[in-house]
């Protein structure tokens, strides 16, 4: 039986980090993730962890120090948001190319500009092709659980890739909700110890990391990375199963909420799924067969499984909390529709860009999407597939 608590998303992430007890944490303050290193440095100051906390002078150095530490043979963690992630961007790619299983808490916030400190997913979407495993979390519990599973996934020999756990800035990070924590000793034995095969601090085997990798080799090294990402899918499934056995909490690539018999459905990520579940319940009371597919594993993207899960529907709406500004729709929309196309699933799909810069997305907004879907289902499709939800035009 776990420990019942009431924590914000940031507290939950910090508690997870405390229980994981990483060797090095390097972080820089940025709203809304600031509290994570803040809480964590208290644990360090009070001797509750063995961690060396490196209070770096920028997010670029945060990721660089994490790379140095992880390459040295340590477990390294960090937390950031928005522009912090943008400043890390160069090192984000390097971390994954060097196959270093660094774990990050990404508290999602709008990337400037203009400056805005509130939630959307533009930070995460900016690194979606960087070779990091990306797990999304609806609430504090999921943010906590995903972090506990992170190292087992990232450090797996067949994977060896960095991993970020996303949660919505303010909406999740700053709201206090009930949560069930695992006991420290159970976390310790679940996460296990990190035993890298090759590392800088092994005096007996000095190694070199980060070469100039020219035409004869970079292609193959990128192929290896792609293999690691493909392998991650299986490993995520295995680790999630193990976690379920320990906690009773079940995690899949995505959550299907009343999707089995649904006719119309929304696909979304993070906290919006909570609002959507409420709306689904309301609509169901009126006999409307609404459902939800909430993505947890965004990278690697569960292409076949998603296509299959949506194949029986009459209309689908994909909600993107960031616009790709490509004139064609958001990133999640692209992934979902291409998954459906290559798997020969022909269901009308529409995309909504929503909630940008922390704009509230209410149950009424979500309901309007289902109303639109009902119409699309009746008409058998729409040409107007790239839409904005709740913007003042």
């Amino acid at each position: 039986m776990g420990i019942r608590e009431r924590l914000s998303g940031n507290e939950a992430a910090a508690i997870a980090m405390k229980q994981i007890n990483p060797d090095v944490v390097a972080a820089f303050p940025i709203t809304p993730s600031t509290e994570i290193p803040q809480y964590f440095s208290t644990f360090v100051s009070n001797g509750q962890v063995d961690t060396e906390f490196v209070a770096v002078e920028s997010e670029h150095s945060a990721m660089t120090a994490c790379i140095g530490a992880e390459a040295a043979g340590a477990r390294a963690m960090t937390a950031t948001s928005a522009n912090g992630l943008s400043l890390m961007w160069e090192q984000i790619y390097i971390a994954s190319s060097l196959r270093l299983p660094i774990v990050m808490s990404l508290v999602n916030r709008a990337v400037s500009g203009p400056l805005n400190i509130h939630n959307d997913h533009s930070d995460a979407m900016g690194v979606r092709d960087s070779g990091w495993i990306m797990l999304f979390s609806e609430n504090n519990q999921e943010a906590y659980d995903n972090l506990l599973m992170a190292h087992k996934i990232a450090e797996n020999k067949d994977v060896q890739l960095p991993l970020m756990v996303c949660q919505d800035g303010f909406i999740t990070s700053h709201s206090i909700e009930n949560i069930e924590l695992l006991e420290d000793d159970k976390v310790k034995s679940f996460v296990g110890t990190y035993k890298p095969e090759h590392y800088l601090l092994n005096k007996e085997e000095p190694i070199a990391i980060g070469p100039l990798d020219l035409q004869a080799y970079l292609f193959e090294h990128k192929y290896q990375q792609a293999e690691g990402m493909r392998n991650a899918k299986k490993v995520i499934a295995e680790v999630s199963k193990e976690f379920e056995e320990l906690t009773g909490r079940k995690y899949s690539f995505f959550e299907e909420y009343k999707l089995d018999d649904a006719e119309i459905a929304i696909v979304c990520m993070n906290s919006t799924a909570g609002t959507t579940k409420y709306v689904v319940d309301q609509l169901r009371k009126n006999g409307i067969k609404a459902g939800l597919l909430k993505i947890r594993m965004f990278r690697p993207f569960p292409t076949e499984e998603i296509a299959k899960a949506l194949s029986h529907l009459k209309a689908v709406a994909v909600l993107d909390k960031a616009d790709s500004l490509n004139g064609a729709g958001g990133a999640l929309f692209e992934d979902v529709t291409s998954s459906m196309f290559v798997n020969k699933v022909q269901v009308p799909v529409v995309n909504y860009i929503y909630g940008i810069g922390g704009r509230d997305t209410t149950s009424k907004d979500i309901e309007s999407v289902y109303n639109d879907l009902a119409k699309i289902a009746d008409n058998g499709g729409t040409d107007d597939f790239y839409r904005y939800l709740g913007v003042r035009k």
């Binding site: 490196v54 120090a65 140095g68 530490a69 390459a71 040295a72 005096k203 070199a208 020219l214």
Partner: protein, 320 residues
């Protein structure tokens, strides 16, 4: 123990091997190798390197010239890479995850581009945080790896590919940044400026002090570039000597804030002697451009005098 170059060369192995692809006559490998030779034989190092000539010529997959552990990630962050590895060392040692008798030293290398310019923030941060590491700048006075573009370390009037000596603008119009002084401003336990000269005593001993001083240390070492500076490849040691004898590159160290000039030329040579053999200053010797040499000389004199003053002031204050 008295410095004995021959003994050092015979008993301490090279930790920066042959088979690297730096240009013929390059000053940087000589610096890198000497710094690493100052390590005790039984000690291990984690070397971090900024993107630049030294990195792209020494670790081209699948060959590495480094016999110690080595990491490179990007241009501006050699210091932060070292900082992270050093933090890992502390954490793992504390937990008994690496042998207690293992002594690992953290040494970062960057050129002037990766140190004076794009990497200054990362360097400043790592030094301020007090990591037990040494940052070594091999200063060749321009972005040589990308083809001789000006940096903030490029001397005034130098002809580079982004400060070309033209009909209206005669080369770089700004004086060089004094990074060593900026690092002194960080109040580090050890800061030094050196060069490979004579029997390498100055560079070797400063490297030894920098490596074995507890806490952050900074070494700024001039490393001439025959291609970028435009002098024949065999002139490396003469150029180094002229840089010192003209006081263009003074040799000094600052230990806990106290300055010590490690070499004072008895007859300070005119700056022309340093400038003349180098193609990048060729335009300064054209008729009508005498003012440029005069101005250059004034700046060298001013900075040398400042250094003499600093030595006097910082040593006086503790005597009282």
């Amino acid at each position: 123990m008295a410095y004995n170059l021959k003994e050092i060369m015979a008993t301490k192995p090279s930790r920066f091997t042959a088979g690297h692809r730096m240009c013929a006559g390059c000053g940087a490998p000589v610096v890198g190798r000497t710094v690493l030779r100052a390590l005790k034989n039984e000690d291990h190092a984690v070397v971090s390197c900024a993107t630049g000539c030294m990195e792209v010529s020494t670790f081209i997959y699948p060959y590495t010239s480094w016999t110690d552990s080595f990491i490179h990630t990007a241009f501006e962050c050699a210091a932060a890479n070292s900082a992270g590895a050093e933090a890992a060392y502390k954490a793992l040692k504390k937990q008994g995850k690496i042998p207690q008798d293992q002594n690992t030293k953290f040494i970062a290398f960057g050129g002037d581009g990766g140190t004076y310019d794009i990497g200054l923030q990362s360097l400043s941060g790592a030094m301020e945080r007090g990591h037990d590491m040494v940052y070594v700048c091999y200063d060749n006075g321009a972005y040589m790896n990308t083809g001789i573009q000006r940096s903030s370390a490029t001397p005034k009037f130098a002809d580079t590919t982004t400060s070309p000596a033209g009909k209206v603008i005669p080369g770089k119009m700004q004086s060089r940044k004094d990074l060593t002084q900026i690092m002194v401003g960080h109040h580090l336990p050890y800061v030094a400026q050196s060069i490979a000269i004579n029997n390498f005593k100055d560079l070797y001993e400063k490297s030894e002090k920098a490596i074995y001083t507890q806490g952050p240390a900074f070494l700024n070492v001039l490393a001439p570039c025959p291609r970028g500076w435009g002098y024949p490849t065999d002139m490396l040691m003469e150029i180094n000597k002229l840089a010192v004898e003209t006081c263009y590159w003074p040799l000094y160290e600052v230990i806990d804030g106290k300055y010590h000039i490690t070499y004072k030329p008895t007859n300070k040579k005119p700056i022309e002697e340093f400038l003349k053999p180098q193609r990048r200053f060729k335009h300064m010797f054209q008729p009508g451009n005498e003012w440029m040499i005069e101005e250059f000389q004034k700046e060298v004199d001013k900075r040398w005098q400042e250094l003499l003053d600093l030595e006097e002031i910082t040593n006086k204050s503790t005597e009282e």
